[in-house]
């Protein structure tokens, strides 16, 4: 029995089986998140609005996501007449795949990363842009004026917010000196004042950098108050108007997976990854705590603020966030390089 177990362990430790097991686990994680983050969102929305939220299906409405999933799967995936059938069907797949790949490089705990890449940070952002193109393709393939308008807005919003996001990430890469996410987390070992968020001697504007990252993450994942593309009460369901059933379900799943990816990256870059501030729980638990705290704040923001207009959104990015993030980049570069040059 022990021999069998140790044989199995040895087998699974070998690539590529280890990676496949990890990817399957990540797929399960994403699916579970998509299902139960919806429950958290609906319950939170209810409580913010002084009502209970879902309570009927299952205890405290916990089986509501199951009911919703069954409903979506039972619906017919209607491809509109005249729509580009291949692109229409491919778009949801193109949206979910890059997110899964991005989650593969996140270190969830000590030694708990699917892939140990030394350019993990770069890979996440390389794949992240595919998301935008996939939604654009889906909207264009739908042959619907509303979808097209919404997708056009979404593309210009995402381009505008991609830039400060990358500037912020470049600043962090400079501050930590590496693109390897495991190394970034390792640098933040110790009590919580070792976290990158408090590393003010290298980048005095670090909290501002974090806020810019947070705002860009909201914009990149199309969450309120930056949800131009989707929940706009002007454009019906925006880019997803023609999607029914599981096609819409996959877009939905991808949106929550993107939020999880964005918050995981924020945890890794700024909040110390899986390091605990004062012991007690294993690393994985702390990582999930920090990550879900950020996810809850994203949900909180959605139900509190109204939406901005489109041009205000773009102005915020081009006129405020980009100059400020450039400033932090130059400041950090100066602080890192000048003492070295002088000595």
């Amino acid at each position: 029995m022990n021999a069998l177990a140790s044989n199995a362990a040895a087998f699974l430790d070998a690539e590529p089986w280890r990676l496949l097991v990890w990817l399957a686990a990540l797929l399960g994680f994403v699916a579970l998140n998509a299902a139960y983050l919806v429950w958290v969102e609906r319950k939170s929305a209810g409580r913010f609005q002084r009502r209970p939220g879902p309570t009927e299906v299952g205890p405290a409405g916990l089986l509501q996501p199951v009911a919703d999933g069954l409903k979506l799967m039972a619906k017919q995936l209607v491809v509109p007449a005249g729509a580009d059938s291949a692109l229409f069907r491919a778009a949801p797949l193109m949206v979910i795949a890059p997110v899964l790949m991005g989650l593969a490089v996140i270190p969830f705990g000590r030694g708990l990363a699917a892939l140990d890449l030394n350019v993990g940070l770069l890979m996440i952002f390389a794949l992240g842009s595919i998301n935008v193109m996939a939604i654009m393709l889906g909207a264009w393939a739908s042959r619907n004026k509303y979808s097209l308008m919404a997708a056009g807005r979404m593309v210009s919003q995402n381009i505008a917010y991609e830039i400060p996001m990358l500037l912020v990430v470049t600043t962090m890469a400079m501050v930590t000196g590496t693109l390897d996410l495991n190394q970034i987390v390792a640098q933040q070992a110790g009590a919580f004042w070792h976290w990158n968020l408090f590393r003010l001697w290298v980048n005095p504007l670090m909290p501002v950098t974090f806020l810019i990252y947070y705002a860009c993450m909201l914009a990149e994942t199309n969450r309120a108050p930056f949800d131009m593309a989707e929940a706009e009460s002007e454009l019906v369901a925006g880019a997803y108007t023609e999607y029914a059933g599981m096609g819409f379900g996959v877009f939905f799943m991808a949106e929550y997976a993107n939020i999880v990816l964005g918050c995981s990256l924020a945890t890794v870059l700024f909040l110390g990854g899986w390091h605990s501030p004062f012991g007690l729980l294993p690393g994985l638990a702390w990582f999930l705590l920090k990550m879900y705290f950020l996810v809850f704040s994203v949900i909180w923001v959605r139900w509190t603020f109204p939406r901005t207009q489109f041009y205000v959104l773009l102005n915020l990015s081009w006129k405020i966030l980009i100059p400020v993030s450039l400033l932090t980049l130059i400041l950090s570069a100066a602080i890192i390089k000048i003492p070295k040059a002088l000595s």
């Binding site: 929305a45 913010f48 609005q49 002084r50 009502r51 004026k145 509303y146 308008m149 309120a224 108050p225 949800d227 929940a231 706009e232 009460s233 002007e234 019906v236 139900w303 509190t304 603020f305 109204p306 939406r307 901005t308 207009q309 489109f310 041009y311 205000v312």
Partner: protein, 378 residues
């Protein structure tokens, strides 16, 4: 040749490409069944043409087939959110023509219930407007306050929305102490809520960016289209039917008419928020001055026949000036009932006011006009 004018390249004088976007009749942002045919030039509105009539029920024809008393329930269903005001106008025009004197207690109670109705109507507008702008939560807070008003009014009228409480000569029944005490408690609870709404919503930077300077409407535009109510007061004109053509016991009560000169969506928003506070003030004074006595005039004929001729009465409803004109030929059924509703005049200026706006701004303008479509269509 040097000096000869060069003809412009054909591409330089190409017409702009527009497409038609149909908003409604079923749409989250139009409050009721309104269809707007928007000709869009990219993100800009080139021409917005409202198409009405989807909920036309022909109340004016019904007015010619029913006696005056039978028409009373119709009045509550024209603008269901401020039903008390509309019933007040119809009841008052008949009282004016027939010379019926309403006892003072009934007049004060009419004012109290009308102002409570104004508050509940403005709360619905506030929640729905913010829903249009993407803030989902204030609607639920507004409805919580509105529930208290609805419970109060249900206790005396039996209805939650389409009240038919006033009768020719007074009211159908008197109020009891539960109502009076409940209204006092409501006022005490509502004032801190208004402060919270100001801090949480009105002063929110995103809302201010969304409304300040958006959708300007000048006083002259209002005059040419006959716009009234908060739309007119948000453009700097202090016109309120309660002060211009005083009726009921409003002359005995002290209240201000909030007016803001900017003419943008924020001004119209602030007018309605201020009106909430002023309505609370009116109710408080009316409660203090409420006399005892009968609530119904003596000797109101069972079968009402108005003298021949036409008679008008105007009230300040929640959305603007509502006027009823009754043409009578001395029969028990009116010859003609004309309902002049505020939302029709308010919407008619939308086509001119929305030219060249962004779609999001045009919808903010539409929301700030506070439309109830059955009011337009009748």
């Amino acid at each position: 040749m040097v000096g000869a004018p060069i003809a412009p390249h054909p591409a330089a004088i190409a017409p702009k490409e527009t497409f038609v976007l149909n908003l409604g009749p079923q749409h989250p942002a139009t409050h009721g069944v309104l269809r707007i045919k928007m000709t869009m030039d990219g993100e800009y509105v080139d021409r917005a043409e409202p198409v009405c009539g989807y909920i036309h029920r022909m109340h004016e024809k019904m007015g010619e087939n029913r006696t005056y008393a039978q028409f009373l329930p119709n009045t509550g269903r024209i603008d269901y959110l401020s039903a008390m005001h509309y019933t007040h106008a119809f009841v008052s025009v008949v009282e004016r023509a027939a010379g019926i004197q309403v006892p003072p207690r009934a007049e004060f109670i009419r004012v109290i219930t009308s102002e409570l109705n104004r508050i509940s109507s403005h709360l619905v507008w506030w929640g729905a407007f913010l829903l249009d702008l993407g803030g989902f939560t204030p609607l639920l807070y507004a409805f919580e306050d509105r529930e208290r008003i609805l419970d109060l009014l249900e206790g005396i009228t039996g209805a939650r929305l389409t009240y038919c409480y006033y009768r020719f000569g007074g009211l159908c029944n008197d109020v009891d102490d539960t109502f009076l005490e409940g209204t006092r408690q409501f006022i005490a609870k509502m004032r801190p809520r208004l402060k919270m709404y100001r801090a949480l919503v009105t002063d929110n930077i995103i809302l201010r960016k969304r409304l300040i300077g958006i959708g300007p409407i000048s006083a002259e535009l209002c005059r040419r289209y006959g716009a009234t109510g908060p739309v007119l007061r948000g453009s700097g004109v202090t016109y309120d039917v309660r002060k211009a053509e005083p009726y009921s016991v409003y002359p005995e009560l002290e209240f201000d008419v909030p007016t803001f000169p900017e003419g943008d969506s924020m001004a119209r928003y602030l007018v309605r928020m201020e009106e909430l506070a002023q309505s609370l003030r009116i109710i408080e004074q009316a409660l203090g001055k409420l006399p005892s006595g009968p609530v119904m005039a003596e000797k109101v004929p069972r079968v009402l026949k108005l003298p021949a001729g036409d008679f008008c009465f105007a009230v300040e409803a929640a959305r603007g000036r509502f006027m009823v004109r009754v043409v009578s030929d001395n029969k028990e059924v009116p010859y003609r009932v004309k309902l002049r509703t505020p939302c029709l005049s308010n919407l008619s200026l939308f086509e001119e006011a929305s030219r060249g706006l962004f779609l999001a701004d045009a919808l903010a303008l539409l929301g700030s006009l506070d439309l109830v479509i059955p009011d337009i269509d009748r």
